[in-house]
Symmetry: C2
Subunit: 129 residues, 2 copies
Amino acid sequence: MNISDAAEITSLPPKTIRYYEEIGLITPGRSANGYRSFTDMHIHQLTFLAHARALGFSVEDCRSLLALWEDRDRASADVRKIAETHLGAIEAKIADLSAMRDTLRHLVNTCAGDNRPDCPILNSLSSSD
Amino acid sequence: MNISDAAEITSLPPKTIRYYEEIGLITPGRSANGYRSFTDMHIHQLTFLAHARALGFSVEDCRSLLALWEDRDRASADVRKIAETHLGAIEAKIADLSAMRDTLRHLVNTCAGDNRPDCPILNSLSSSD
DNA sequence: ACTTGACCTTCCAGTCACTGGAAGCCCTAT
DNA sequence: ATAGGGCTTCCAGTGACTGGAAGGTCAAGT
C-alpha cells in the first residue's frame, strides 16, 4: 500500500506520515521503486498514533504509548501514569484558558465597540495594577 | 534604564524584550555604550504587551492592539473586534480541550493501573471505530 | 513511442514565540 | 590588573508539522 492510501485510511496527511517515519515512530518498508510500502501493521500503528494525537498526547508520549501497546508484558499502570499526567496538563491548560476567557469576556462586554476611542480593553491592558 | 531593569519592572525576560525589539514591537534607544535605553514610554509599552500576551493574544494581535492604543483617533470597535475574535478562538480551544479531558478522564478511570497488561486506554487508542 | 498527469521521492525553509548558549565588549569595585 | 556582572550579537533549537521545489515513477490515452 502506498502512502496516499495509508493517508486516506488513517486520515493523516502524507506529510505527517513521512514525518512519523523520519522521527522513528513507524518504519514502513520500501517497494522496488523506492516508494514506502505500508502493511496492515503500519496502518494499525498510524491509527493508534492518530487517536493518541487527537487526545492531545505529545509525540513523545505517543512513542511511549505505542511501545507499551506493543509490549505484551506491559503494566497498565505505566499507561495510566502517562494518561494521568497528560490529563493533569490538559486540566491546567483549561484552567488557564478559562481565566483568560472570563477576563476577555468581561472586557468585551464592557467595551462599547463604536467609533469612539474610549476602550476598557485598552485601559485594562495598559493599567499597571 | 538598562534592559535588566526593564525586565524586572515588566516581569518580561530580557531575551523576550530583545525579541520584541527585533520584530519591531518596541524601539528603545541606545546609550553611548550600545546598551539599550528604556524610557517610561517603553516600560508602558512592554507592560501593555505583557498583559496582552498574558491574555493569550498573538504577537501580531499585540502589534495591532498596541497601534490602536497609541492612536488617539481609534474606534473602540476595532479593539473589540480583535478581542472578540480572540475570545472565540479561546472558547473553541477550551471546547476541544474539554472534550479531550472528558475522554481521557473516562479512560483513566476505567484503567486498573496495576501490573496486568489489560488496558482500556490502549484498547481505545487502537480501536478502529 | 510519446505525452500527460498523478503519484512518489528527498531536501530545505517556514511556522510561533521565544529560549539557550557562545563569543566578546563594557563597567564597577577591589 | 583583575574579577564579576551586565550588556551586545548571532546561531541554533524547541514541537509538530506544513509548503514548496526539483526530480523520479507509473498508468492511461493517443
